[in-house]
């Protein structure tokens, strides 16, 4: 009989277990919506700087993208942590790989958050279709 990963009994691991499931359900809606809009309805042929500038003129899409970024990255980094836990057994390598994971995750989160929150279409640049 198939049984999933055992539910942790408490502490951070239990929190992480619930986080993966709750963020997963939210991401299902956000990411599939994002894919439908940006990769099926629109395509990479239309998407360029001006497209993003028009899209991010709306606080709704900035918020959408910010929530998606945080949930997806934390979900992904925690998943990677589980994979490292499963395959990397030597103490030294564990410390190295978990540290690198935490650092890369932090830098990516900072980069993504910065661009979503501080992006401005440069002054004087014509952005077609923008009021």
């Amino acid at each position: 009989m198939y049984v999933g990963r055992e539910r942790p009994t408490g502490g951070f691991e239990l929190f992480a277990w619930f986080f993966m499931r709750i963020s997963g359900v939210v991401l299902l809606i956000l990411v599939l919506g994002h894919l439908a809009i940006m990769h099926v309805i629109h395509t990479v042929d239309e998407i360029d700087f001006d497209f993003v500038a028009r899209r991010w003129a709306s606080p709704f899409w900035r918020t959408y993208d910010l929530v998606m970024l945080w949930l997806a990255l934390l979900h992904g980094v925690n998943g990677m942590r589980t994979v490292i836990d499963d395959y990397v057994h030597r103490r030294g390598w564990r410390v190295v790989s978990l540290t690198v994971l935490a650092l890369v995750g932090f830098v990516l989160l900072a980069m993504g958050t910065q661009i979503i929150l501080t992006f401005e279409a440069p002054l004087g640049r014509e952005v077609a279709g923008r009021p």
Partner: protein, 117 residues
């Protein structure tokens, strides 16, 4: 009865698709960060418009879709008592949903690449 059955394959695929999507997410954060340099950003877009990426894009959708549907299956098995009893039926329902969504989506995404606009 775990090894070699549906449970093992869905577990392996969940890992592989999860890692693949995480890798693309990392690349995607870097490319979006380049919005700070509009001309560089626009110039590099040729990479994403290349036919090789357009095909890879369809597999990205497959990875996300599989991971999402399999995530639902895991939640059903975890939280719904009957989920464990019906786990094989749930697995095959998942395969059906996957194909039903992925095949038409791929058709829509790839036809401009294959037939032109």
């Amino acid at each position: 009865m775990y090894r070699g059955r549906e449970g093992m394959w869905s577990w392996i695929l969940h890992r592989v698709t999860g890692l693949g999507v995480l890798l693309f997410l990392a690349i995607h954060i870097v490319d979006i960060y380049l919005l700070g340099w509009p001309d560089v950003f626009n110039k590099l877009l040729f990479l994403y418009r290349h036919p090789v990426f357009r095909v890879a894009e369809v597999f990205l959708v497959a990875a996300v879709l599989y991971h999402a549907l399999n995530g639902i299956r895991i939640i059903l098995v975890d939280f719904w008592v009957e989920g464990t009893r019906f786990h094989r039926q749930i697995f095959w329902a998942q395969v059906a949903f996957f194909l039903l969504i992925w095949i038409p989506t791929s058709w829509v995404m790839l036809s401009p690449v294959v037939f032109g606009k």
